[in-house]
């Protein structure tokens, strides 16, 4: 073929762009607004500690030029845009996999409407909006079983809403033995204080038996009872949704970097895919991450989600025991192949680091991590770790959220701040330890550089 003709053909070929591009702008704006709303930046693979329930809060701003009508259930297009950040949720909505709730309650000049719900055997996503006489405010919520006990145990966020815009809450059920409730209560408290300033604190009362002296317990509620409005919704989950999952056994062992790993099964839900695995207890290192993706026969890739839970660790918070990916549930593909391309391991003897203030260091410092600053003031140690971003725009947990003293007393970093400079290859995380002089403390490392495999391991799953 004539070279110039080849050029014209190639140019024509490039005119087709993927469908996902349509959501790039809304995703980006949503991401920036979410960061502005919260003072704490947290974009990281979220490794949980094997809790039964993890609540992941995703507050999503609407992109379209027209805000929701005051009295209408949002048009479906707003739901589609609201889930644009999650390819799996978007596909679910496009395949009509959602429940319309459309229940509205009003108190004075504030209304709350629960609009939609997406449920499968591993997840509940609720979509609601608040209409208030203020532009934005904060809300908190509780989710209660039929007997009145909370099933959203552990982590509550005070998070923000924008009046008239669709917000979402997602509850991920990570233990297979836990079943999605048939009915539950969604209790929502909305604050419409016109003097609201954006802030966020994490509170937890589910840390293990040791007292968590370093955990702030109070919520960020202000003394503004007159602006608080409480709403209670009774939600029913349709059986056809809540038991939906397709399971494919794998039952294979792989050995990577001398670590033996058992790949158990793949669970494909409409909203996510979960890979269950376990690591041999005789391994010389803890495996805290595997780089895995899936591909179908059409070449479509299924990777870790960019929001929400991407993996869980075992009950000792050491080895990875499940990894999550975008869902292929609505795909017409007949075959799926798993590719393992890398692993992150920490030798067991280097798992913990002793804090040495005198030398401004922590022992067993992993590669790619350095101590940026370490200061002691009023007996509170503040230290900043600097980590190399292996992948553009990624930050990760360099240490676990818990630490110990020489008596093995357990503490928790109630909160920490992470800073990212977009033009830098590094990011920082700053932690505080009060009463530093009273004990010798050790932290647990949560990072090691990725060991990339020269040849990915391929396993046909489906």
């Amino acid at each position: 073929m004539n070279r110039n003709n080849e050029f014209q053909e190639l140019k024509k070929e490039l005119e087709e762009t993927p469908f996902e591009l349509e959501y790039s702008i809304s995703k980006a704006i949503s991401r920036v607004k979410k960061q502005k709303r919260y003072d704490l930046f947290w974009k990281t693979p979220l490794i949980t500690l094997g809790s039964v329930l993890i609540i992941f809060i995703s507050a999503v701003n609407l992109f379209p030029k027209v805000a929701l009508a005051m009295s209408d259930v949002p048009l479906l297009k707003y739901l589609i845009i609201a889930v644009s950040f999650d390819p799996s949720l978007r596909l679910a909505v496009e395949h009509d996999y959602y429940q319309v709730l459309g229940e509205r309650q009003t108190q004075g000049d504030v209304s709350a409407t629960v609009d939609y719900m997406i449920v499968d055997a591993g997840r509940i996503s609720l979509f609601f909006h608040v209409d208030a006489p203020v532009k934005e405010g904060i809300y908190s919520f509780e989710l209660l079983n039929d007997d009145g006990t909370p099933f959203s145990a552990g982590i509550f966020y005070d998070t923000g809403y924008v009046s008239g815009e669709l917000e979402s809450i997602t509850i991920e059920f990570l233990e297979k033995a836990v079943t999605i409730p048939t009915d539950f209560t969604f209790h929502l408290t909305v604050n419409s204080d016109p003097n609201f300033k954006s802030s966020m604190e994490v509170s937890s009362d589910q840390i293990s038996p040791a007292p968590s002296q370093n955990s702030p317990v109070s919520n960020s509620t202000q003394d503004t009872a007159e602006f608080e409005h409480s709403f209670t919704f009774r939600i029913h989950t349709d059986q056809s949704f809540r038991q939906t999952v397709a399971t494919y056994p794998i039952n294979q062992y792989v050995t990577i970097s001398n670590q033996k790993i058992y790949l158990e099964q793949l669970d494909i839900y409409p909203t996510k895919t979960g890979l269950s695995l376990s690591c041999d207890k005789d391994n010389g290192a803890v495996v805290y991450n595997l780089n895995v993706y899936f591909k179908d026969e059409n070449g479509k890739l299924y990777k870790n989600p960019t929001n929400g839970v991407t993996a869980t660790l075992d009950s000792e918070a050491n080895n990875i025991n499940s990894i999550y990916f975008a869902s292929s549930y609505f795909s017409t593909s007949k075959h799926i192949t798993m590719y393992i391309t890398g692993i992150n391991i920490i030798p067991k003897e280097k798992l913990y680091g002793e804090i040495d203030y005198e030398h401004k260091t922590i022992t067993n410092l992993p590669e790619n991590i350095m101590i940026d600053t370490m200061t002691l003031k009023d007996d509170t140690l503040t230290f900043t770790l600097k980590g190399y971003r292996e992948k553009a725009s990624n930050a990760y947990e360099m240490i676990h959220s818990r630490y110990w003293d020489e008596t093995d007393q357990l503490y928790s970093f109630g909160s920490w701040s992470t800073g990212v400079n977009d033009s830098s290859d590094y990011f920082t995380s700053t932690y505080k330890i009060p009463d530093f002089s009273k004990h010798q403390y050790r932290i647990k490392w949560g990072y090691a550089p990725t060991i990339h495999l020269d040849t990915p391991i391929e396993i046909q799953v489906k």
Partner: protein
């Protein structure tokens, strides 16, 4: 939604396919290109106030995209830094399909072909994005076209 956000959306909507094509030619796969575009739009929106000359929005965003793509390649350790333009036998490119021949060009030449001929950037725009004199861009453009045996307008 405010006015500056409106304007950003309109401008970015007009550019997004072009950004994808640039990223796709640079990174050579769809998912990496999509990720690069997502990251570029995010960085552009986040740093919009730093753009002092709004008339250069297009070149500013394109430069961000190229930096994002370069960073991605660095992480994949596939990028070859262009220090000296190596001499290649003309027959090397001649025998290859055009797409493959372009991918074998030195990085800077690839970028120029990518921007100028697959995405219709002017010589001036390309020079501004790459922070090169226009004369240098023109020279390298001629060299790239010669290597590829393409007879296209030089401007």
């Amino acid at each position: 939604m405010n006015r500056s956000e409106d304007k950003f959306i309109i401008q970015m909507d007009a550019m997004k396919q072009q950004l994808y094509r640039i990223a796709f030619l640079y990174l050579k796969n769809e998912s990496s290109a999509l990720e690069a575009v997502d990251e570029t739009i995010y960085l552009s929106y986040k740093n919009l106030k730093k753009l002092r000359e709004p008339q250069f929005f297009k070149t500013w965003v394109t430069r961000i995209l190229i930096n994002v793509c370069k960073k991605e390649l660095r992480h994949k350790k596939k990028e070859e830094l262009l220090e000296v333009l190596p001499e290649q036998g003309h027959e090397d490119y001649d025998s290859l399909p055009l797409k493959e021949a372009i991918s074998k060009l030195p990085g800077e030449l690839q970028l120029i072909i990518n921007l100028r001929y697959f995405n219709d950037y002017t010589l001036a725009e390309t020079a501004k994005i790459l922070k090169l004199p226009q004369g240098t861009v023109a020279t390298r453009q001629r060299k790239a076209l010669s290597l590829l045996r393409l007879e296209l307008e030089v401007e």
